[in-house]
Structure formats: structure tokens, C-alpha cells
Symmetry: C2
Subunit: 264 residues, 2 copies
């Protein structure tokens, strides 16, 4: 079994040093709890609700920033996937996710589906996420709104991803009483139709008037939530990643082999 | 607003005449209730659990069978989408859905994703469903397992479908207490990420040892169920199809325009 730790946090906009320090503490605590995979929210270093492109640029850090070395030192045996505001080599600003283990930064993925006003602040990435062989299985990082494009998550599953690690910042949207956040419903269906684990780490709190969903949820490869809860702190979920390696639904039904790529 | 009627039924395997007669009565009742769209289960004419290809062939009917003329006469102003066991021109047997209104058969769609043992009985279709302009909006028929392929439902939404009409026979599968059937979770996510109405008409009862889910559910274009319930008989759901014509999630987020077809 694989232990996934998601750190529901409330980054403080503008407090780069404090946000980084708190994220390192969370990684250390997750590693101490035995986590194989640690997922942190989107833009955990910077906060989300920027008022200008300049503010985002001022809070952006390069992929060789000290915080990632700190995550690496705190990670123990775990793999860490966390969102950050990235300053690219030519000064572009990306909404990115870093994948880090004790050896350092394994990959940086730049969000390709920018949501709503994000294009004011970020340049969209132009590459699919990597699929990385880790002790937590074959992990692909994606960011928030990316999850809402089923052709994208399908592409990752077909590329061999067994665990989708999803740093998110879900603004609270209306939903009927008793329903899960809509993004969680999408995560469940994504898990089910691809037979992959989906680990969404959301943020909490209210930031410049935006209330966050605090919808952190880990969904197993059978499509059912293993753990969910938006309290600030670590959420631990034990999942069976081996399920994600078996794409048979029944003796003869197979989620990939039954596709009809001749038609779509 | 658009009134959708789903007829949760328990077809009797082998009782072609009785199944047809009951389906005509259901269409007439739905039309009398004011339905704009009537959805009947998969294989409503024949039943599902065949023991041999010969049995399926013996129960198959061509698309000009009298039952469709009867649906047409019973339909009033409604459009009917119902599943049937089709005998093709060269004797092939298809798991099909007919779309019928008062003028007759508008289209026949042949299920392209055959589930589990269905390939023993059916030839897979090799065309995408049509998208038909109707009084219930732009309707695309699909059948059961088709719904579990997000690239397929996306293709229909991109082709202009506003309402996915889904005759189904969902065998009951285990699920955690308090959860909806997994197929309904997939229907909700499909509706949400495409902003389309999804109307799933399931069957009920137990047939040759297969217990059915009776999961009939109509999901609005915002992704939330409008009505669900598996009691034998008509389920009525009023939906706002106009929602499916507006693909904006926010002022700047758009479920289609935000896709990245350069990447997938």
C-alpha cells in the first residue's frame, strides 16, 4: 500500500518566506508520518489572488530556488509534488508544479490550462506533464483546472500515469446541499474511467475576498474517495496503486483496450 | 424548460411482442405527461442476458420494424430514444438506439463500445452517433458503456450535442454505502466538463441472475442530478437545455475554448 499525504494549507499572499518555511515543515511532518507521496496546494509559495502581473512576478521563484532543496532535505523517502509561482529563464511567470525527492528537483510542470483571469498573470505551459517512476508509483503532476479536461487526464493515463498528483486552489462555487465539490466529482470520474489514483490537495481560508473550497480529496483507482477533508494540516490516505496497473473492469472489459481511437 | 421522461423498465428476455407493447404504452404515457424527450433503456425490445448469439439474432429486429412506427404514433410532440437489438441488412446483430419522432425513425445509432461479453452477441458499430436537432435541443444517442469513454462524449459535445440520451443496462456493481452508482458519477462529470444534459435511462429487476442497478438519472448541464430513481415506470425531469448552449464557466473560462488540442 502507498501512503499519500496532502497538506491543506492557507498560504499568505506575499509572504514568500513564511509560505516556504511552512511548506517545508509540512513536508517534514508528512515524511515523518511515513508518506510515500506528499502533495501540496497550487501556488503554495506565493498565494493565488494577485492584483497585478507585477505582483505575481515579484513572488515568482526559479526552479533552483532554495525552497526545493529544503523540500528535498525534508522529504526523507517521499516524493513531493507542490505548486509554485515560477519565474522562467526569460522572465515569464508560470503556474507550475515541482516534483522533488531527496535527490532534488525531478521535474517541473507548467500548467497548460489557465483558468479565468490567470492569463493576466501567467504564461501557459506548452508541454504535457511528465510521468515519473517513483516509490509511489508512476506519478504525473497536474494543476487544478487541468483536471477538468478529460482528454488531458486520459492522455496521462495512456502515457502510464498511475497517480495523478493535483495541487489545486479551488474557489468555492455553489453546490446543492449534501454534494461534494464539483471538482471532486470530476476527480472521481477521472479515477474511475482511467483506473488511476487522483490526489487533489486544495487550499483553505479566504484570500482577498476569495473563499476557498478546502476540498482536499484522495480518490482510489476504483473511483471512490479514500479520504477527504479540508481542515488545515495533513490528510493521510492509504491507497492501493497496484489497482491502477490493472485496467480490466471485467474478464473482457478493459478501459484502454475498449477505446475506439478510430472514431475519436 | 425541457421535460425529459425516462422509463425504467424490466424487459422480459425473449418476450419481443410484450416488451414492444409495453414500450409503446410508456411512450404514450410520457407524451401525455408533456415530455419533449423520452428515453427508454438499452435493448428494451429484447432483454439483455442472452445465452447464445442465436438467441440474440432471433430477437433482433430491423430498423423498419413495426415497433418504431408504434413509437412514432405514440410520441405526440416528443422525441424518443430507445435501445433495441437490431438485425442489420446482412444479418449482423447490433446493440442499437433508435431516435424516433412522429415522422418516423430519424436515426439509428449502433453502440461502438461493446462491454464485456457483448462481442459474443453483437457487431460493434463503426460510426459516431448523429447529433439531431429536435424540440428537446440537439440530441445525441449513445448506449451504456459508451458513456465511460470521455473522449467519446467530448467528441459529441464538440459536435454540438446539448443532450446525451443514454439507454443503459447497468449491472449492479458494489459501491460504498451512500454513494451513487459509479456510472452516475461519470454522467455527472460528463455533464459538468462539457456543459451538456445527460439523461440515463436504466433498467430494473433481475434477469437470468444479473441484478440491475435501476440507476436512472437525469443530470443537468451544470453537472447536478435533476431527478433520479429506479422505480419501474416514468421518471420526469425538467431541465434547462439553454444552459448547455453556454460553455462559459466564468467571464474568461470556457470549457471548449480552454482546451489545448495542440497537446492532445
Amino acid at each position: 500500500m502507498t501512503l499519500i499525504a496532502c497538506w491543506t494549507a492557507a498560504p499568505r499572499i506575499g509572504d514568500l518566506a513564511g509560505n516556504c518555511a511552512r511548506s517545508v515543515t509540512a513536508v517534514r511532518e508528512a515524511a515523518a508520518a511515513g508518506a510515500d507521496l506528499v502533495v501540496l496546494p497550487e501556488l503554495v509559495t506565493s498565494g493565488y489572488v494577485f492584483t497585478s502581473a507585477q505582483e505575481a512576478a515579484d513572488l515568482a521563484v526559479p526552479a533552483d530556488h532554495e525552497v526545493f532543496a529544503q523540500w528535498a532535505r525534508a522529504a526523507g523517502d517521499a516524493v513531493v509534488v507542490g505548486g509554485f509561482c515560477e519565474r522562467g529563464p526569460d522572465g515569464e511567470v508560470f503556474n507550475s508544479a515541482a516534483v522533488v525527492d531527496a535527490t532534488g528537483v525531478l521535474a517541473v510542470y507548467r500548467k497548460v490550462h489557465l483558468w479565468d483571469e490567470e492569463e493576466r498573470f501567467f504564461t501557459a505551459g506548452d508541454e504535457l506533464p511528465p510521468v515519473l517512476d517513483t516509490r509511489a508509483g508512476r506519478v504525473a503532476p497536474l494543476v487544478c483546472y487541468d483536471l477538468e479536461f478529460p482528454e488531458f487526464t486520459r492522455a496521462l493515463a495512456l502515457a502510464g500515469a498511475e497517480v495523478l498528483a493535483v495541487p489545486t486552489n479551488w474557489p468555492l462555487v455553489p453546490r446543492p446541499d449534501g454534494e461534494r465539490p464539483p471538482e471532486v466529482v470530476i476527480a472521481m470520474a477521472t479515477a474511475r474511467v482511467n483506473r488511476v489514483v487522483v490526489a487533489c490537495c486544495d487550499r483553505t481560508g479566504t484570500e482577498r475576498g476569495v473563499r476557498w473550497t478546502a476540498g482536499t480529496t484522495v480518490v482510489g483507482a476504483d473511483g471512490w474517495p479514500v479520504a477527504s477533508g479540508g481542515a488545515e494540516g495533513l490528510l493521510l490516505a492509504e491507497v492501493d496503486v497496484a489497482l491502477a496497473r490493472d485496467k480490466q473492469l471485467t474478464a473482457r472489459a478493459h478501459v484502454f483496450a475498449d477505446r475506439r481511437p478510430d472514431l475519436y
